[in-house]
């Protein structure tokens, strides 16, 4: 697998709690959750830059909400 570089990450209590919760729910290490988040963020950013939009759709309420990403 590709060589890796190490970095130190400073998180608030709330951020760490959220990360730990996701780690438990997804059955993944905290590092794996963050790496996956980076992949997702990169894909979303690339698609938004291509002019696409990101929506959450509620099929029952027939409602769509656009998700704005930094």
């Amino acid at each position: 697998m590709a060589a890796k570089r190490t970095m130190t990450l400073n998180l608030t209590e709330a951020e760490m709690a959220a990360l730990e919760q996701l780690s438990t729910e997804k059955d993944m290490s905290k590092t794996a959750v963050l790496r996956q988040a980076l992949r997702l963020y990169q894909v979303i950013t690339a698609r938004l830059q291509d002019g696409e939009k990101l929506f959450f759709e509620d099929e029952i309420a027939k409602a769509k909400k656009e998700l704005v990403v930094l």
Binding site: M1, A2, A3, K26, D27, M28, S29, T31, A32, V33, R35, Q36, L38, R39, L40, Q42, V43, A46
Partner: protein, 201 residues
């Protein structure tokens, strides 16, 4: 990033060191398309001249240049190659986000999805009487499992198998879940963490 892997060279009669390339680019994919298509065209012509039939691989129409261009530089879509003497012996594209296990006991857990996997035509018994390398698909699947382990997915894999490849995936210990009407009715197969451990051992 490249790693050394072993392939069986059936012409030479021994194991040779090949290279696993962890992310190829569009130029590499185009060169591979040219090589593979040229080889296939020559085999088709040879079969016609000899008045024999040739069973083309189901993936003969794939154009890796387009696939790699579409995946671009995005982290979740690595395309790997196994290379020997500067020629791709096999290619595989993975998807590492948004895919989840369907097997009971694993349902909903993230997995690495094998989007495309193909072996060079000169390694396929259906195309040539004396295939060159054995083990290309196995080495690529092992790399997919390693990717799954590396990402924290515990070795879980999923893929839709072309019918010609179903015995291959079954032989690697994957579980077939049946034909998937949402994916051209191809047979969907999964590898559990336990199967992955047994496979890479």
């Amino acid at each position: 990033m490249t790693l050394e892997v072993a392939l069986e060279d059936r012409h030479a009669g021994h194991i040779v060191p090949a290279t696993l390339v962890e992310r190829i680019d569009v130029t590499y994919a185009r060169r591979t398309d040219d090589l593979w298509l040229t080889f296939l065209a020559a085999e088709v012509a040879r079969a016609r001249a000899a008045a024999t039939s040739l069973s083309l691989p189901e993936h003969a129409h794939w154009r890796w240049e387009r696939k790699v261009a579409a995946a671009g530089h995005l982290l979740p879509y690595p395309t790997l190659a196994i290379e020997f003497e500067s020629e791709a012996q096999g290619l595989m594209m993975l998807k590492t986000d948004g895919e989840f296990a369907r097997l009971p006991g694993e349902t909903g857990k993230p997995l690495v999805y094998v989007v495309f996997l193909a072996t060079a035509p000169w390694n396929l018994p259906a195309v040539v009487a004396r295939p060159r390398f054995r083990g290309v698909g196995t080495v690529l699947l092992r790399a997919a499992v390693e990717t799954s382990l590396d990402l924290g997915f515990k070795g879980r894999l999923g893929l839709h198998s072309l019918s010609q490849s179903e015995p291959f995936y079954a032989g690697l210990g994957m579980t077939a879940l049946g034909n998937d009407p949402k994916k051209e009715n191809l047979n969907y197969c999964e590898m559990t963490p336990a199967q992955a451990v047994a496979f890479v051992r």
